[in-house]
């Protein structure tokens, strides 16, 4: 059984290596730029993966495209522009901040603020509901009076 699982893991291993084609880089910075870029660009075929993770043919082509453009000495921004001109902002895992994406960027802050307000209001209400020691005494007295009333 253990051998069986080992076999499965070994056979599944190549999948984990998607996007690790052997590529030669002029410098470590260029290599870093490459790995950064491909992990920030979304694969459009398998939408929940970056082109670094995906083995789809389109992802391979786009990795190659990023590589070629880096080899030509193009800047990071130039490559991002190239991709968004063709595939739209959707291709970016970090979409730009603009009117269309306002909700996307601000919603977390809004929800957080709303949460704070709710917590604040609840805690205030609880404070109001807690009876003071003096009140408790009065309530106890009232209860006793009521009970005596029943006896009469």
């Amino acid at each position: 059984m253990r051998l069986f699982f080992l076999l499965i893991f070994i056979l599944a291993a190549p999948n984990a290596g998607a996007g690790v084609e052997v590529k030669q880089f002029a410098s470590t910075e260029q290599e870093q730029a490459y790995t950064d870029l491909i992990s920030e660009l979304r694969c459009l075929v398998c939408q929940n993966q970056s082109i670094a993770e995906s083995n789809a043919e389109l992802a391979q082509d786009l990795r190659q495209q990023v590589y070629t453009m880096l080899q030509q000495g193009q800047s990071r921004q130039a490559i991002i522009d190239f991709m968004t001109q063709r595939y739209g902002d959707f291709v970016l895992y970090r979409p730009p901040f603009k009117t269309k994406t306002l909700l996307l960027w601000l919603a977390p802050v809004v929800f957080f603020m709303a949460g704070l307000v709710i917590v604040w209001r609840l805690s205030r209400k609880r404070k109001r509901d807690t009876v003071s020691a003096q009140d408790a005494e009065r309530i106890e007295k009232a209860r006793q009076l009521l009970e005596q009333g029943e006896d009469l």
Binding site: L44, V45, Q47, D61, L62, Q65, Q85, R86, Y87, G88
Partner: protein
């Protein structure tokens, strides 16, 4: 009363958002090319590789670019629809044979019929990247000025053809 209506309102709002979300198709990614000039290419024709074709050759005409491949299963489903559309001769239909083998592409056309006025060969998929192709089949509609006016991702159905493509082509012909 207020206390009980708040969760109800939150529930209704959430339900509406989720229901809307269900009707959206995550595969449909809006193309940034709409209303922009068609990306250019100069690619050999499938049937006649010595001759090349580029979008500028089609200026002044309404034309469709259909991205297809013989390996693409949904292209098979779309093909009869395209054949019927081509019979109406409303617009020039150009095929972009995407990452395909030319021989199997030619066989495919002779077997299933050829709706294209011409097909061009994009063996490397380079033109495909310029057009933002991410799933075959895709269809673009260009106006007489050579601008992209519409993009359809996925196979065209008869309904799409009648409800979207034909009216759009007729409208663009009159512009």
């Amino acid at each position: 009363m207020f206390k009980y209506s708040v969760p109800l309102v939150i529930f209704i709002v959430l339900a509406i958002f989720l229901a809307l979300g269900l009707t959206l198709n995550p595969r449909e990614i809006p193309s940034p090319l709409i209303d922009k000039p068609a990306p250019t290419f100069s690619l050999p024709r499938l049937q006649n590789p010595e001759q090349s074709l580029s979008p500028s050759d089609l200026k002044g005409q309404v034309w469709l670019l259909n991205v297809w491949a013989s390996w693409c299963v949904s292209c098979r489903a779309e093909h009869p629809v395209l054949n019927r559309l081509a019979q109406q001769k409303l617009a020039v239909i150009i095929g972009l044979n995407y990452k395909d083998e030319s021989d199997s592409a030619k066989n495919w056309l002779s077997h299933w019929g050829n709706p294209y006025d011409a097909s061009v060969v994009d063996a490397e998929g380079r033109a495909g990247i310029d057009w933002g192709v991410y799933g075959v089949p895709e269809t673009f509609v260009m106006d007489k000025q050579g601008r992209v006016r519409y993009k359809h991702t996925g196979p065209i159905t008869d309904d799409d053809s009648v409800e979207i493509f034909i009216p759009l082509i007729q409208k663009l012909q009159q512009e």
